[in-house]
């Protein structure tokens, strides 16, 4: 007469997916989803915030940037004098990075390359070879600094040889495909944190009202009778996550094509920004951490929203979460800028900031194993958040018999 009996776990998975499918369809196949899809126009305002953060980041890291000249000791004094003279031509805000002089070793070209990738060293441009025909390497942002080094070479020759000195003919080489610099990694970390934060804020916030739909339609009784509330909650999260993925796929496709229309110099500048773990691993980790961030924050939004009976209550309840999210974002940006600080470690461990901070970690450090531990830790908290949300709903709403929130019994003994 009925369907054959199946195991509890399989049943729960099936029920979860049934709810997820319903929510996905109900969300995506509506005209309002199109409006939602184009909300990233708001990105313009967020972009301003992001730009401010990035500029702060650049300001914070500016002190560590340098230009490197690998020249013979006999020419170093003349070059330093030329540098001092030329710097007077620049306003204080437009000064080139400090000049670092190195004595040429056996392999000056390798030495110049190391200046871009060595730990603690962050060159924007590096000069090596004979000053009459020097080679100048430069990173993403370093074309201007490379030109300055060329001027230095020219000036040094004139200082040592007078007006009879031959003109210097420098070869400028861009290091577009070089490993990202440490500032590039930090910028990458910042953009990662910002990206996950923005997407989570935009997409997970939707979950806050989804249980309200069931409560208003009185469908919740039908669901609660047929399906464990944990499956209802998780199904709703997955359904909303599906629409979030659709959103990301749409905008991701557009954004991925942007570089094709950018000027070459801008594309070259972007080339300096990159994650320490490498791009393929980073893409996977970004997605994994976004998923965790979405499920964690979405779970909290869903659980809190399920307690609300009116739109006003929804707004009031979601405000503290948004404030908490901003605090998490702040801590995570610190983690991006200062990956070895205690704030970074704390942000990596605290479950709700962990996805952001660990994504920044992936941008800053090439070690992969901490990510497996972090993802397991975050998944555990997703389960905890969903269980607490479902329990709160069962005790606070279903058990009360009145439809009002039963705060007293919410976390009491079952």
């Amino acid at each position: 007469m009925s369907n054959p009996p199946i195991g509890n776990f399989r049943r729960m998975v099936r029920q979860t997916l049934t709810i997820a499918r319903r929510d996905f369809v109900a969300t995506v196949f509506t005209p309002t989803f199109l409006i939602f899809l184009f909300t990233p126009v708001i990105m313009l305002s967020f972009g301003a915030i992001g730009g401010f953060g990035a500029s702060s980041m650049a300001g914070g890291t500016g002190e560590k940037m340098s230009i490197v000249a690998i020249v013979a000791p006999a020419q170093q004094a003349a070059m330093r004098a030329t540098d001092a003279r030329l710097r007077k031509l620049f306003s204080p805000n437009d000064q080139p990075p400090p000049l670092v002089m190195e004595v040429p070793g056996d392999n000056p070209a390798g030495q110049a390359n190391i200046a871009f990738s060595a730990q603690g060293s962050d060159a924007s441009a590096a000069l090596y070879g004979d000053l009459t025909e020097p080679t100048i390497l430069y990173g993403g942002h370093g074309r201007g600094d490379a030109a300055y080094l060329a001027e230095l070479a020219e000036g040094t020759l004139r200082t040592t040889g007078g007006s009879m000195a031959p003109l210097s003919k420098a070869t400028l080489t861009s290091l577009v495909h070089a490993k990202p610099s440490s500032s590039g990694r930090r910028e990458s970390a910042y953009f990662t944190v910002f990206g996950i934060f923005f997407l989570t804020l935009l997409l997970a916030g939707q979950a806050v009202g989804t249980m309200a739909e069931e409560r208003n339609n009185k469908v919740v009784e039908v669901l609660a009778a047929a399906v464990p509330l944990e499956a209802v909650f998780f199904g709703k999260l997955i359904g909303m996550f599906g629409s979030a993925i659709l959103f990301i796929a749409f905008w991701g496709t557009l954004v991925s094509q942007v570089h094709a229309i950018l000027p070459a110099s801008f594309a070259s500048a972007l080339g300096d920004i990159g994650p320490a773990v490498g791009e393929p691993a980073f893409v996977l980790l970004f997605f994994a951490y976004f998923t965790m961030s979405y499920l964690l924050l979405g779970g909290v939004f869903l659980g809190v929203g399920a307690q609300a009976t009116t739109p006003r209550e929804l707004q009031m309840l979601s405000l503290p979460i948004t404030v908490l999210q901003m605090a998490i974002f702040g801590a995570s940006t610190v983690a991006a800028a200062r990956p070895d600080s205690w704030i970074a470690k704390a942000a990596e461990i605290f479950p709700f900031s962990s996805p952001y901070a660990m994504a920044a970690h992936a941008a800053n450090s090439p070690t992969l194993w901490p990510h497996a531990a972090a993802l397991a830790w975050q998944l555990l908290w997703v389960a905890i958040v969903i269980m607490i949300g479902a329990r709160a709903f069962r005790r606070g709403v279903l058990q009360s018999g009145s439809g009002k929130i039963n705060w007293k019994g919410l976390f009491g003994r079952k």
């Binding site: 007469m1 009925s2 369907n3 009996p5 199946i6 509890n8 049943r11 099936r14 029920q15 049934t18 709810i19 319903r22 109900a26 509506t30 739909e213 069931e214 339609n217 009185k218 469908v219 919740v220 009784e221 039908v222 669901l223 609660a224 009778a225 047929a226 399906v227 464990p228 069962r394 279903l398 058990q399 009360s400 018999g401 009145s402 079952k414």
Partner: protein
């Protein structure tokens, strides 16, 4: 015997705050029957049903549903129509029915096919592709009921299924319930409208004040009250009252009185012998309504209400 029971509950208790909304209710619902849970508003019927289905946990007592101590494990074999009807307004009627079946393990494709067949069989064929928000309240209610039977459950639990339906749809619903029973399903439904219970129930329980006050068949419930006679004399003289039992009431042209265990023959014979004759005589069996009022009223008196 337990194998023959679709539902078994012993000493179910549920408290809301300090109040025992359900206070030690026992239920034994045999398989293949239509079983009614009757009671006045606020008696604890809905709370009892919700505990039986595992929507809320009891604070005391135990229950099994289709042999499972955890009702959730029998979820796929159960259909449920809650008192507060609820459907997604933007869904098409057919999809709503299929969705409810999918929650209980029926695949969507089969669910949609069965939904169309069920809707056509119940006079809703024209509304298969209509969105729920376009349907009348009665039609939406019927759609939800069809959603609770689309997976052909072994047990169907209906909470106040007739409320809000017009007489035509009430009759349709009664037919549907009987058809489900004939299919082999067990039906448990709550109501406070006695006429439906009287027509449908094989057995019933009456709950009042959170306690079970009666359990048995409709006939047994009605049998709790004595039969009454309605007698109309040829000519109503002053002496008629003296020959009738003490509880006789003068109603219209005649008299109504309780028939003693020994029967009404003696009283009638005396009336004829006295020359009052018989213009009309009917024996009235008490209805379920009377039994219900008596049982609930007695319970209220006991509770000091």
């Amino acid at each position: 015997m337990p194998d023959q029971l679709a539902i078994s509950a012993t000493g179910l208790i549920k408290k809301f705050g300090d109040r025992n909304v359900v206070d030690g209710v026992d239920l034994a619902v045999p398989k293949g029957m239509i079983y009614g849970v009757l009671g006045p508003n606020g008696a604890g019927k809905t709370t009892t049903l919700r505990m039986l289905l595992g929507i809320i946990e009891p604070d005391g007592g135990s229950r099994t549903l289709l042999g499972h101590d955890r009702p959730r494990e029998a979820s796929d074999q159960v259909g449920y129509l809650p008192e507060e009807r609820g459907l997604y307004p933007a869904m098409k009627a057919r999809d709503a029915i299929a969705f409810m079946g999918a929650l209980r393990g029926l695949d969507l494709k089969t669910g949609r096919k069965r939904a169309v067949a069920l809707m056509e069989a119940n006079g809703l064929g024209h509304a298969v592709d209509s969105k729920i928000r376009k349907l009348s309240k009665g039609m939406a209610q019927l759609v939800q009921l069809l959603g609770s039977v689309v997976h052909e459950p072994e047990l169907l639990v209906l909470d106040e299924p007739f409320s809000g339906l017009d007489p035509v749809n009430q009759e349709r619903l009664e037919a549907l319930i009987v058809a489900q029973r004939d299919r082999g399903a067990t039906i448990l439904f709550s109501t406070h409208v006695m006429a439906h219970a009287e027509r449908l129930c094989d057995r019933l329980a009456i709950i009042s004040g959170g306690k079970r006050r009666f359990e048995g068949t409709v006939a047994e419930a009605r049998g709790m009250l004595p039969m009454r006679a309605h007698y109309v004399p040829h000519h109503d003289g002053a002496g008629v009252r003296d020959l009738l039992p003490a509880d006789a009431e003068h109603i219209g042209d005649g008299w109504r009185f309780t028939i003693a265990d020994t029967g009404a023959e003696d009283v009638i014979r005396k009336l004829i012998d006295a020359g009052f004759g018989i213009s009309g005589l009917s024996i009235e069996r008490p209805g379920l309504h009377d039994a219900f009022v008596r049982i609930v009223g007695k319970a209220a008196l006991e509770a000091g209400q």
